[in-house]
C-alpha cells in the first residue's frame, strides 16, 4: 500500500531530473527528427509542399523493399548468430566445467571495442580475393578462392559475419550479468535434482532470463535494422544493390544523389517499419514480461 505513494511522481524530482534531461533529448534528437519529417513532405530543393507524394513514391520503390528484405535477412542471421551463440557460450560459463573463464571473457568481448569502420575494413581485408586470410585458408586445403564480396550469392552472408563476430561479446556479457543474478539456490537445487546442462539451461536459466532475453533481442534487432557503417566500408551496398540495406539506401539518396527529401522519407519510413517490427517482436516475446 505504501508503495503507491512512494512510486508516484512528485513535482520535485520531476523538475530536477526528468524534465531537464528530456529537454536535452528533445532538442538534440526529436527536434531534428521533426525537421527531417518536414523535409520529407517538401519537394527536392524544398521550394514547395508536396504532401505524402514522397511516401507514395517510397511505397512503390522496388529498391527500398529490396533493401528492407536484405535488412530482415541480416537481422535474422544476427539474432541467431549474436544472441544465440552468446547465450550458448554464457550458459557454458555456468557449468563450472570451464577453465580460464576470465581470459575467455576478455577475449570474447574484445571485438566489441573496435570501431565499426575498423571492423569493416579489417574484414574487407580478410575477404580480399587475392590477399585475404579466408582465401589463404581455402588455398591450404586446395579449394578455389571465393569472391566473398563480389558474388551476389554470398555477399549478404559475407557482410553478416563481421557483424556477428563483433557483437557476440556484447550479448554474451549481458547474458552473463543476467545469469549471475539468478540466485545460487535455484541453480543448486536443479543440480541436486540431477538436471543435465541442457535441462538446466532450457528449463531453469532460460525462463528466468526472459526479461534479459527480450532486451537482447530488441537491442539486436534495432541495431541490425539500422546497420550502416560496416556495410558502407565493406561493399557500400554493392555489387549493384546486392547488399543494399535501408540506412545505406537513405544515405545514398541524401548524400550521393542530393535527394535530401527522399532520403529523409526513406529514413522516416525505416523508423516506422523498425517500430512495427520491434512492436510485433515484443508482443510475440511475451505479453507478461513487460507487465
Amino acid at each position: 500500500m505504501s508503495s503507491s505513494r512512494l512510486f508516484k511522481l512528485q513535482a520535485g524530482p520531476a523538475f530536477r531530473y526528468l524534465i531537464p534531461i528530456f529537454c536535452v533529448y528533445a532538442f538534440t534528437v526529436l527536434l531534428p527528427l521533426l525537421i527531417s519529417i518536414y523535409y520529407s513532405v517538401r519537394n527536392e530543393g524544398g521550394t514547395e509542399f508536396v504532401g505524402l507524394q514522397n511516401y507514395v513514391a517510397l511505397a512503390k520503390d522496388n529498391d527500398f523493399w529490396f533493401s528492407l528484405k536484405n535488412n530482415v535477412i541480416i537481422a535474422f542471421f544476427c539474432v541467431v548468430g549474436q544472441v544465440g551463440i552468446a547465450f550458448l557460450i554464457a550458459s557454458f560459463f555456468m557449468t563450472k566445467l570451464l577453465k580460464l573463464e576470465g581470459l575467455h571473457r576478455i577475449a570474447i568481448f574484445l571485438p566489441v571495442v573496435l570501431a565499426p569502420i575498423v571492423t569493416g575494413y579489417l574484414w574487407s581485408l580478410m575477404y580480399n580475393y587475392r590477399l585475404g586470410m579466408l582465401n589463404w585458408l581455402l588455398d591450404l586445403v586446395h579449394i578455389q578462392p571465393v569472391l566473398w564480396l563480389d558474388n551476389p550469392k554470398y555477399v549478404l552472408y559475407s557482410v553478416s559475419v563481421p557483424l556477428i563476430w563483433q557483437y557476440i561479446g556484447l550479448y554474451f556479457i549481458i547474458f552473463l550479468a543476467g545469469m549471475q543474478n539468478i540466485s545460487k539456490e535455484v541453480l543448486e537445487a536443479s543440480e541436486i535434482d540431477g538436471a543435465t546442462w541442457f535441462k538446466k539451461t532450457a528449463y531453469v536459466i532460460l525462463p528466468l532470463l526472459k526479461n534479459v532475453m527480450s532486451v537482447a533481442l530488441i537491442l539486436c534487432i534495432t541495431g541490425t535494422l539500422k546497420v550502416f557503417d560496416h556495410i558502407y566500408v565493406m561493399t557500400g551496398g554493392g555489387p549493384g544493390r546486392s547488399s543494399m540495406v535501408m540506412a545505406q539506401y537513405a544515405y545514398n539518396n541524401a548524400f550521393t544523389m542530393s535527394r535530401l527529401s527522399y532520403g529523409s522519407t526513406i529514413s522516416i519510413g525505416m523508423l516506422i517499419l523498425c517500430a512495427l517490427i520491434v512492436l510485433a517482436m515484443s508482443r510475440w516475446i511475451g505479453g507478461g514480461g513487460e507487465r
Binding site: N128, L149, G238, G240
Partner: protein, 440 residues
C-alpha cells in the same frame, strides 16, 4: 549522507548546464580572443577542398605561396578527403553555410546555382582578358548556366585512357593495339589465354567503370548528339543505341575481361594489378599518368602504351572522341563582397593561371590552360605520350558531370548489377529511364 545526494544532484545540474552553456560561451571566446585579435585587421578566407593526398601537393604548395604573397589574408583550409568532402558539402549546401571558396564539380553546381549560393566570374574574367583567353576552348562548359560562369576549371583532361602493357600484348601474340572492336575482343581472348587479366579495374565505389569506361563506350554507340537529345528529353535511355552499349559492357564482363574482384577493390588496388603485370590493360583517367609515372616499376612504365577504345560496329559515335572535359572547378560563395571577394578571385587566378598551369604540366598534370613555354624534358615519357594521344581527339560528355547526381547513381550502380549479371541491359535501361522521367 544527505550532502552526498545533494552533491550528486548538483553535479548533474551543473554538468548539464555547463555542457549547453559552454557551447554558447565557447563560441564567443573562440571568436573573441582565439584568433580574433591577431586577425582583426586580416581578411579571413576559408577554402574547402579535398586535395589532401600526394596528388594534391602542388595545389597545397600554391596555397602556401598565396599566403606568403598576401600577408593580409588569413587563408583557412577546410580540407577533408574526397568521400567525406561530398558528405560535408551536401550538408553545408542544405543550409547555405558553404566556405568562401570551394572545389565543386558540375553536378554540385547544378544543386547550388538555383539556391543562389555561388558567385559568377563573368565580370572578373572580362576584366582580365589575359586570364580569360588563357583557358582551353570549352573548358567552362560544365560550369556555365545561361551564359553565366560559376566555376573556374582546375584541370581539363580525358577521363578515358587505356593503359596497356606492350610486353604482355606481345607475349599473348598481339602485335599492336587493336583498331576494331572485333580485334579488341580477340585480343582480350588471347590475353586471357596467356594467363593474365585483360583489363584491371577497381569499381568498388561504382564510379570508375561508369566514368572512365562506359562513358566513352556509350558514346561510341550513341554518338554525342544522342546525349544532347536525351538531355533535352528528345531521346530515351531505352533507345536501342544505349541498350547496345549496355550489352557491349555486359558482354565484356561475360568474356572474363575484368579482374573477378572488380566490384570489391578500389582504383588504387586495381592499379597494383597492372603494376605487377597481372593485368595487361587498365582503363583509367588521364590522372593515372601521374600515378604510373610515380609508382609503377620502371619496366612497366617503359612497356606502357596509351590508347582509347576502338570503333564499334554500327556505332553512331566518332571513334576519335573520348569522354573528358573539365570535371572540377573552383567556385566562390555569393556572399563575398569587397576585399574578401578580391582576395578570393586573386587566389583562384593563382591556381588557374599560366604559371600554375606550367607547374602542373611539368608535374605530369593536365591544366585547363594553354601552356606554351613549358619544359618538356620535365615531363615523364608517359605524359608526352598522353598529349600526343590527345592531339587529334575531341571530348564527349562525362556522364557523372553532365547528369544529375540521382541519375548518375542509378546508372553507375546499375552498371555494377550488369557486370555481375544480376540485371539485363533491357531491365537496366528501363530503370534508368524511369528515374529520368521523374526529373522535370
Amino acid at each position: 549522507m544527505f550532502t552526498r545526494n545533494r552533491k550528486m544532484q548538483m553535479l548533474l545540474i551543473v554538468l548539464l548546464i555547463a555542457s549547453i552553456g559552454l557551447i554558447g560561451c565557447g563560441k564567443n571566446s573562440s571568436n573573441g580572443n582565439g584568433d580574433g585579435e591577431t586577425s582583426a585587421d586580416k581578411i579571413k578566407l576559408t577554402i574547402g577542398h579535398f586535395d589532401v593526398d600526394e596528388n594534391g601537393a602542388l595545389f597545397r604548395d600554391a596555397l602556401e605561396e598565396f599566403r606568403k604573397e598576401h600577408p593580409a589574408v588569413n587563408l583557412v583550409e577546410e580540407a577533408v578527403p574526397h568521400d567525406p568532402y561530398r558528405v560535408k558539402m551536401t550538408t553545408l549546401g542544405a543550409s547555405g553555410e558553404l566556405p568562401d571558396l570551394f572545389v565543386a564539380n558540375g553536378s554540385m553546381l547544378i544543386d547550388y546555382i538555383p539556391k543562389g549560393y555561388v558567385g559568377t566570374f563573368n565580370e572578373a574574367l572580362d576584366q582580365d582578358p589575359e586570364w580569360k583567353n588563357g583557358f582551353l576552348p570549352n573548358s567552362f562548359d560544365e560550369f556555365t548556366t545561361d551564359g553565366k560562369i560559376y566555376g573556374v576549371p582546375t584541370a581539363m583532361f580525358s577521363v578515358h585512357v587505356i593503359y596497356y602493357n606492350k610486353e604482355l600484348f606481345e607475349k599473348a601474340g598481339i602485335a599492336s593495339f587493336p583498331k576494331t572492336w572485333e580485334e579488341f575482343t580477340t585480343a582480350i581472348h588471347k590475353l586471357k589465354d596467356s594467363g593474365v587479366t585483360p583489363i584491371a579495374m577497381g569499381n568498388k565505389s561504382n564510379v570508375p567503370v561508369g566514368s572512365v569506361l562506359f562513358g566513352t563506350l556509350a558514346d561510341r554507340y550513341t554518338g554525342t548528339d544522342w546525349f544532347k537529345a536525351m538531355k533535352e528529353g528528345k531521346a530515351k535511355f531505352t533507345d536501342p543505341e544505349f541498350v547496345n552499349a549496355l550489352k557491349a559492357l555486359q558482354d565484356l564482363a561475360k568474356m572474363g575481361t575484368f579482374n573477378p574482384d572488380i566490384n570489391s577493390i578500389d582504383g588504387d588496388q586495381a592499379r597494383t594489378l597492372y603494376y605487377n603485370k597481372q593485368a595487361a590493360m587498365m582503363v583509367d583517367g588521364a590522372w593515372a599518368v601521374t600515378n604510373i609515372s610515380r609508382d609503377a616499376p620502371e619496366d612497366v612504365q617503359k612497356a606502357t602504351g596509351l590508347a582509347i577504345l576502338p570503333a564499334v560496329p554500327g556505332g553512331k559515335g566518332d571513334p576519335l572522341s573520348v569522354a573528358g572535359g573539365s570535371g572540377w572547378s573552383l567556385a566562390y560563395n555569393s556572399k563575398l563582397t569587397g576585399a574578401k571577394k578580391d582576395a578570393a578571385i586573386a587566389l583562384i587566378k593563382k591556381v588557374s593561371g599560366q604559371e600554375y598551369g606550367r607547374k602542373k604540366i611539368e608535374n605530369n598534370g593536365q591544366p585547363p590552360v594553354k601552356v606554351t613555354d613549358y619544359d618538356e624534358s620535365k615531363l615523364s615519357p608517359l605524359a608526352v605520350d598522353y598529349f600526343k594521344l590527345m592531339s587529334d581527339k575531341k571530348f564527349s560528355p562525362i556522364y557523372d558531370i553532365q547528369l544529375s547526381p540521382a541519375l548518375v547513381e542509378v546508372i553507375y550502380k546499375g552498371l555494377q548489377d550488369l557486370l555481375i549479371g544480376s540485371a539485363t541491359p533491357e531491365e537496366l535501361s528501363k530503370k534508368i529511364q524511369t528515374v529520368r522521367d521523374t526529373q522535370k
